[in-house]
């Protein structure tokens, strides 16, 4: 048992979920209070002790299914006597193609349909088992992931027709004009099909594990955690997953910047107020009062390269911008290829992100000469067009790979911009090792930035957010310390270090 848990922990670490020694021990400890015959109890115990971040739960689920597929009794004990067939060496007896049930594909579909229509999970699981038996055509020893078998099965079951039939059935006693009811019926049908898909997946995974052992299967199923997906090469599904994570991240950023504003509230001693308060304690100034410093509202400007080479990353930065726009009232967004245009209005709250992207693509005036990135010209133009609006409170964030197509970098314009604003941060989606290779001119711009960050994945973006907000906090603190100078205040400072 211990070795199984340590293997499992090892697998989690391999996919990038940080599990500490202490947590592994806790898990073992907690398992002694658990009834092993209950799979949910076992699973939730491991989850509660090993996983400390909701984002890691999908990885945990996958690893758990693989590791404990054939070891822990199948879900819901006492589900079906036929289940016992699945333990032991049944597969060797029957071969992978199975077919013992003798059900035709049509009757199989019928039983699936019935199970889905009645929301009968046990029945669904059984039917899914038979479907995999007959249709997946699993070959022992073949090193493929489950997806291949899953699609093979789904295709033969004609899943779309099945969903359509389900929908018709759910709609039978629904007035077709009742939009709400038909929406719910559609969702129910979709969800039922989703359940079938899950059941099939689980079944296929179980067989793969029996065939090749959990380590081999775990390897094929390994996927990078969402925060480690390379943003330059993210697929569509990756982007959808990323979308879900970005929102909390910007919320975090907003919360931290807001905190910074509050932290700086302690200013000079307010003599008048202190004396007034001392009256309550017989003239002894027990509670010093302070003047509050007017909070400074951060003003953020985002400048994104949206040229072809940056397509995927640009979509992501725009998404980040979109999410930030819902949190900051004073956020302005600019995009450029070889010319700059402001797109703040496209991100007004309530505007759909997809809509915004389409409008930026068609309406923003970002091409000047030939539609290849020209950072130099973009900065020059930015300074000319918006230079007057830069203030010492502005934070400028540039997102781009600094690939200038061998044109003049004209870093002096960025320097001028940097002088006008509080800070400039540059987010580069390329690996640090590629900087300044080929047409990348990162080194020319870097001296004008407060800091350049490699942001290839969400984890690095998160680090950027944490670093920047932390620095800001300490900087404001230092500043306010400088303003505290009088002898009275020094006393106070000693009291509240």
């Amino acid at each position: 048992m211990i070795s199984l848990i340590t293997d499992f922990v090892q697998e989690l670490r391999t996919v990038g979920v940080p599990v500490s020694m202490v947590e592994a021990i806790d898990a073992m400890d907690a398992l002694s209070h658990v009834d092993f015959s209950s799979r949910p109890q076992f699973k939730e115990t491991l989850r509660a002790t090993l996983i400390k971040n909701a984002r890691h739960e999908p990885a945990f689920d996958t690893a758990f299914e693989v590791f404990f597929a054939s070891r822990v009794p199948a879900p819901e004990p006492g589900e079906d006597p036929a289940d016992s067939r699945f333990t032991g060496n049944r597969l060797d007896e029957q071969g992978w193609m199975g077919g013992s049930s003798g059900l035709s594909v049509e009757s199989l579909i019928e039983s699936l349909f019935e199970a889905m229509a009645n929301q009968n999970f046990d029945m669904l699981r059984n039917a899914a088992r038979q479907a995999v038996d007959r249709l997946a055509g699993m070959e022992p020893g073949r090193p493929v992931g489950g997806t291949y078998y899953l699609y093979r099965t789904l295709r033969q079951l004609d899943i779309e027709a099945l969903e359509q039939r389900l929908l018709e059935m759910f709609m039978t006693d629904v007035d077709p004009d009742d939009v709400l009811a038909s929406r719910l019926a559609t969702e129910d049908a979709r969800q039922a099909v989703e359940q079938l898909r899950e059941a099939l997946k689980e079944e296929i995974r179980r067989r793969l594990v029996q065939d090749r052992g959990h380590e081999a299967v775990a390897k094929t199923l390994r996927q990078p955690l969402v925060e480690e997906i390379d943003l330059m090469h993210a697929t569509r599904t990756d982007l959808v997953n990323i979308e879900h994570v970005i929102e909390p991240l910007t919320r975090k950023l907003a919360a931290r910047l807001a905190r910074r504003r509050k932290l700086s509230h302690r200013g000079r001693l307010d003599f008048r107020k202190t004396v007034r308060a001392s009256l309550a304690t017989g003239g002894v100034p027990v509670e010093p009062k302070f003047k509050t410093v007017r909070p400074h509202r951060p003003e953020i400007m985002l400048l994104c390269d949206i040229s072809g080479s940056m397509a995927t990353f640009a979509r992501f930065t725009l998404q980040f911008t979109y999410a930030m726009a819902t949190q900051f009232s004073r956020l302005r967004a600019f995009v450029f290829v070889d010319a700059v245009d402001e797109v703040t209005d496209f991100f007004k709250p309530g505007i759909d992100f997809g809509e915004a992207i389409v409008r930026i693509g068609s309406e923003a005036d970002v091409v000047w000469l030939d539609g290849h990135s020209d950072y130099g010209h973009a900065f020059e133009q930015f300074l000319a067009k918006y230079g007057r609006e830069l203030t010492p409170r502005t934070t400028l964030i540039v997102a781009g790979d600094a690939r200038n197509n061998y044109r003049d970098p004209r870093a002096q314009y960025l320097a001028e911009v940097a002088d006008a604003v509080e800070s400039v941060y540059w987010l580069n989606p390329e690996p640090r090792a590629y900087w300044d290779s080929g047409d990348s001119v990162m080194a020319r711009y870097a001296p004008n930035c407060d800091e350049v960050f490699e942001v290839r994945n969400l984890r690095q973006l998160e680090e950027f957010v944490e670093r920047v907000t932390d620095q800001r906090v300490s900087r404001t603190r230092n500043r306010s310390k400088r303003s505290v100078a009088g002898p009275m205040n020094r006393l106070v400072a000693r009291k509240n270090p």
Binding site: P18, S20, V22, E23, D26, D29, A30, H33, D35, P40, Q41, E44, T45, R47, A48, T49, I51, K52, N53, A54, E57, P176, D178, V179, L180, A181, S182, R183, L184, T186, E187, P248, R251, K252, A255, R256, R259, K262, L263, T281, G282, V284, V286, T326, P349, G350, D352, E462, E466
Partner: protein, 287 residues
């Protein structure tokens, strides 16, 4: 220390106080009681994180001590503080005494203001300690919590170390506005609470809204789940669903259709853009 011998016993007890747990919640609650470890509950606002702590207090018969976290929360608000105004008065009233005598006098329990953390530790009978919205405090305060949570003791320089007379059941809640420190997470059992599935939400409505029919509760739960599937700024929470159910009940509605939802959706959604989006999705839904 606990009288519950299985997660299902915990689940039953929670149901008895109108808190509807899912298997995950009852399992973690059970482990927390068995292992005496704090639980970090994370999830969107309004899914019953705080309620869970209250329900646990109710089923264990322990008093609930609550520490509401906010930015700038410090030792003197979370742990203890010397009542220095009272100390000053004491000094003034007693001018004739020797300093050494006085010193031991003014740093006695009489002048100690206990704050929630110290109160939870000093309590004779075991308590449930709820540390609400722990993600709002600064790192420094978090370190302080850490000290208390790992050893269940507090050192007060003038008095010495106060060890817990009983181990409190600690529930920390977080809305995940910032990453909590690894050290804190390591010490806790982690529980992510999401939105309930329609069946559980129906049960919650039945338990929390008196006089609601099973049918209406079911419909509300399904519509709420459907609305959460939309791309909204703020998805409706369970507490908002409960408000919605109460509103519908007060209006004497016993069946949901598109018009009713359109008329009352402002109870469920709090942003104008969200309301518009939802109404749009509900009216032009293609079939």
């Amino acid at each position: 220390m606990s009288v519950f011998d299985s997660p299902s016993a915990v689940a039953d007890a929670l149901r008895g106080v109108d808190y509807l747990p899912d298997p995950r919640i009852s399992q973690v609650a059970f482990l927390a009681m068995r292992l005496g470890k704090p639980v970090l509950v994370e999830g969107p606002a309004g899914v019953g994180k705080t309620e869970l702590a209250k329900a646990l207090a109710a089923i264990t018969g322990r008093p609930l001590i609550r520490l509401q976290c906010y930015e700038g929360l410090d030792e003197s608000r979370a742990l203890y503080e010397w009542n220095y105004k009272k100390q000053l008065l004491r000094i003034q009233a007693d001018r004739d005494h020797e300093w050494s005598e006085l010193e031991s006098d003014i740093f006695s329990e009489e002048f100690l203001l206990t704050r929630p953390l110290l109160a939870a530790i000093r309590s004779e009978e075991p308590v449930v300690l709820l540390i609400d919205e722990v993600d709002r405090v600064e790192m420094e305060t978090e370190a302080l919590l850490l000290e208390v949570l790992s050893d269940f003791q507090v050192s007060i320089p003038e008095l010495g170390t106060v060890a817990a007379s009983s181990v409190p059941l600690v529930i920390l809640t977080s809305n995940n506005t910032r990453e909590l420190s690894e050290a804190l997470k390591r010490r806790c059992l982690f529980l992510h609470v999401g939105y309930p599935n329609p069946d559980r939400e129906q049960q919650i409505l039945l338990a929390r809204v008196p006089d609601i029919t099973e049918k209406l509760a079911g419909e509300i739960a399904r519509v709420a789940t459907s609305i959460r599937g939309m791309d909204l700024r703020k998805a409706p929470s369970v507490s908002e669903t409960i408000d919605w159910a109460r509103t519908l009940l007060a209006l004497g509605i016993d069946h949901l259709d598109t018009d009713v939802v359109g008329d009352t959706i402002h109870v469920l959604l709090k942003y104008q853009t969200d309301i518009e989006r939802a109404l749009k999705d509900l009216s032009v839904e293609s079939r």
